[in-house]
């Protein structure tokens, strides 16, 4: 795909770097402090104590971080392993079981989530991914500010105030447009600022004339509107830095967990669309308020927001009826990206603030996937073949490069989000998020460092991969006692039930609520369907592109599951093709990354619009080969990579 022409002359060639591999250890990591949801950027290796001191977060403690008093304990929600020996002595057994750790004894080596104070029972921690890798880009934000002085000579000339501004701005001001609201406030603000101020520019339109001191205060918002969570970010337009990120469960969830159930709600209720729109806007306003508090900003200081979501969510945001997406031929009202007044959508920012809503491709290839592709830079690769996956209830897949880019959406089913799994859970406290084999024993990594309550998508993929490795699950997906002597001790965890076996993950003593947790035979079947659909989607795209696995140079995994899933496990179960693991990379919450790229670089908006036209949507339900691939990929790979 050809890049659109830059608005400004090119300053320098844009550098293109690839996302860092998983093994790359970043210099800085994030410490997320709940329940305030404060994000602190910390140099890797600092203790939690040091980080909190620096951020002026008050903590109990008499010894000043020496590990003697044992008072600076907090609840650690990310997995960090057992406390050190000396710390163990300062914590009670109960505290260790609840995931409490001493802040001064724990170095921050990766992104970490902690909870200060007494956790409220209704304030559950959900693992929602907010961060992601953003490729370097040339800053050219959607909103710009210019210092403009109207000289005494200009003030004396017989000119309208508007023409004075145009003259003072030089060639750039020649076609300057001004909305009515701005014109009305002009005389007043001119007087206040003595004809020396900052012009807020959007394209060739002046949104406001501000005090010159505000020239450095340039911020924008981005929203990633997911069916289950809404993530908001406050971003500095001066340096592209993420000032704060906050997430909220999408309140529409009370009307169903997936897109189809929301569409059903709109069809069944006369005011359904309005109710869902109102719920979404309430979430977005709440997020905005918190973001502005963190940034110490007033709503009127924000002139720009960018939103990305699936096609249905984007329709609901704009209060457009998405019912057409519910059934074939799956027709939305619009797919193109649009720019509206933020106020019209219901966001309370500056009265002239604009809301950019990402372009979509179709009813099921939404602005979120366009954002993910934008963030992956797949359309800028000359010849290297990129495979990208955004895994959720619908597995969205893209394959290609600058010459051709294909996408498809597979109904993978919700197994990868822990739904339809007997003891499945979404990624929250108590969910098993990873499983490893250590010295012949299965080890579980649990969110919140508590006893397990269930298993989430990444844990499920790991567990099945480990059990395949141990011979407890065969390549047809059947759970049965292993004949492998090294792992035969695991046979004791198998429970037979009318001819089929279930695998005991946690006995009543090992589990959180005293009830056993199983991986049941049918859970494996659900996973086989989910991974079969995704693998078949990948094969169908490869077939369409006429390439083999060997041609794929990079595999990018987007979204929360993509971030937490172990690439080895994903390959072991055949979710992704077997490749050199070094080429598999997680690009994090790429939907919000793509939206922030649009915010920060006008060219990205044009890229996104071109992308939506450029990509080819492959409708799998029309393809005979998809069913064939699907059936073939329900089995697990025979080869043991490990």
């Amino acid at each position: 795909m050809r890049k659109p022409k830059n608005h400004k002359p090119k300053k320098k060639k844009q550098t293109v770097r690839l996302p860092p591999s998983k093994r790359h250890k970043p210099k800085y990591v994030w410490l997320n402090v709940l329940p305030d949801d404060l994000w602190i950027r910390v140099r890797r290796g600092k203790t939690i104590w040091e980080a909190l001191q620096k951020a002026a977060v008050h903590l109990e403690g008499d010894c000043g971080g020496l590990g003697k008093c044992g008072k600076c304990k907090v609840k650690v929600l990310s997995f960090i392993g057992p406390p050190s020996k000396e710390a163990t002595e300062l914590l009670t057994e109960e505290e260790i079981k609840d995931g409490l750790r001493l802040t001064c004894r724990n170095k921050i080596k990766k992104d970490l989530v902690i909870y200060l104070g007494e956790p409220q029972p209704d304030q559950e921690f959900f693992q929602i991914l907010k961060t992601g890798y953003r490729p370097p880009l040339q800053l050219d934000p959607l909103i710009d500010k210019r210092l403009v002085t109207i000289s005494p000579e200009l003030q004396k000339q017989e000119l309208s105030e508007m023409d004075r501004i145009r003259r003072a701005m030089g060639p750039e001001g020649r076609n300057l447009q001004v909305p009515l609201h701005c014109l009305r406030t002009l005389p007043q603000i001119f007087g206040k600022t003595s004809y020396h101020g900052a012009v807020v520019l959007h394209e060739n339109s002046m949104l406001a004339w501000q005090d010159w001191e505000s020239v450095g205060r340039r911020y924008g918002l981005v929203f990633d509107i997911g069916t289950s969570t809404v993530v908001g970010k406050l971003i500095s337009l001066l340096d592209g830095h993420e000032v704060a990120a906050i997430s909220h469960l999408n309140s529409q969830i009370r009307h169903g967990t997936n897109v189809i159930s929301r569409l059903q709600f709109i069809k069944d209720n006369k005011d359904g669309l309005k109710r869902l729109h109102d719920l979404l806007l309430k979430d977005m306003r709440g997020i905005t308020q918190r973001l502005l508090e963190v940034g110490e900003l007033r709503p009127e200081e924000i002139f720009i927001a960018v939103a990305a979501g699936n096609t249905t969510m984007q329709h609901i945001l704009l209060a457009l009826d998405p019912s057409g997406i519910a059934e074939a031929p799956f027709s939305p009202i619009i797919t193109e990206g649009i720019v509206v007044k933020a106020e019209q959508a219901g966001l309370k920012l500056h009265p002239e603030a604009l809301l950019y809503v990402m372009p979509a491709k179709s009813g099921y290839i939404g602005g979120d996937l366009i954002s993910v592709i934008l963030a992956s830079e797949a359309a800028e690769q000359d010849s290297e073949m990129i495979l990208g996956l955004d895994l959720g209830t619908n597995g969205e897949i893209f394959l290609g490069n600058r010459s051709r880019l294909l996408t498809c959406s597979t109904a993978a089913g919700p197994a990868l989000e822990g739904a339809r799994i007997s003891h499945g859970a979404i990624a929250r406290v108590g969910a098993i998020e990873a499983v490893r084999m250590v010295d012949g024993q299965i080890q579980f990594q649990i969110i919140g460092n508590v006893k397990p309550k269930g298993i989430c998508g990444s844990g499920l993929v790991d567990l099945v991969a480990v059990l395949l490795h141990c011979g407890i699950i065969d390549c047809e997906g059947l759970i049965h006692p292993t004949t492998n002597e090294d792992t035969a001790h695991l046979n004791g965890r198998l429970v037979e039930n009318s001819g089929v076996y279930d695998f005991l993950i946690a006995s009543p003593e090992e589990s959180h609520n005293g009830r056993p947790i199983y991986l049941k035979q049918n859970d494996v079947r659900e996973l086989q369907l989910a991974k079969g659909a995704i693998a078949a989607g990948i094969r169908s795209l490869m077939h369409e592109m006429k390439i083999e696995v060997g041609a794929i140079r990079h595999i990018y995994l987007a979204g929360a599951l993509g971030n937490y899933i172990n690439p080895f496990s994903a390959m072991r179960i055949g979710l992704i093709p077997t490749v050199n693991p070094d080429i598999v990379k997680s690009i994090g919450n790429a939907a919000s990354t793509g939206a922030s790229m649009v915010l920060l670089c006008r060219n990205s908006w044009h890229m996104a619009k071109l992308l939506a036209d450029f990509i080819d949507h492959v409708e799998l339900s029309h393809r005979a080969d998809f069913n064939q691939h699907f059936i073939e990929h329900m089995d697990f790979p025979r080869d043991n990579l490990w």
Partner: protein, 212 residues
Amino acid sequence: MAEFNALTESVIKGDIKSAVAETQKALETGQDIQSIIDDGLIRAMDDVGERFSKGQIFVPQMLRSAKTMQECMKLIQPHFKEGDVKAKGKVVIGTVKGDLHDIGKNLVSMMLEGAGFTIIDLGVDVNPEAFVEKVKETEADIMGMSALLSTTMPAMRHTIDALKEAGIRDQVKVMIGGAPVTDDFAREIKADAYAPDAGSAVIQTKKLLGLS
């Protein structure tokens, strides 16, 4: 009853080579054709359906067994004499209007075919009128409908209404299935049966036709 254990085993395993050899042997030793089919092949497929419903085998294994059976049938067909083999029944099947998901429906088709039924597959996004027309034309015994989206489930009701309007509702049994479909929903729209999976679809079909 003749012993076809080796044949049955081969079909269950989906071992085409050995199943074909066993069928050949049975034909050469002059076994009754109806008996080879009923006590060998169909008995195997019944077992396959049951194993599938329990979770002991999965879709690829079930399909391989179905394919094995079809290969055996190819060998047997030239030996058919007029009236030798009774057709078990005709099934018109399709995914309802507005829905394009057909994997579940295809599995049901293949299993029913494996169990000896004649299948008329209308594909996906099938109008109520198209269902009605085909049922009339083929004088089908069963009409099967599939829907994967909760938003397309109402189309099942509309299709049943269309059968009523055409005055043929009592001439055909209606069976429904699909991820969001439930037994309650089947009762609500007055379908005759609900099948949660392809194995159960065979069992339900037989029940509806009084074959088991």
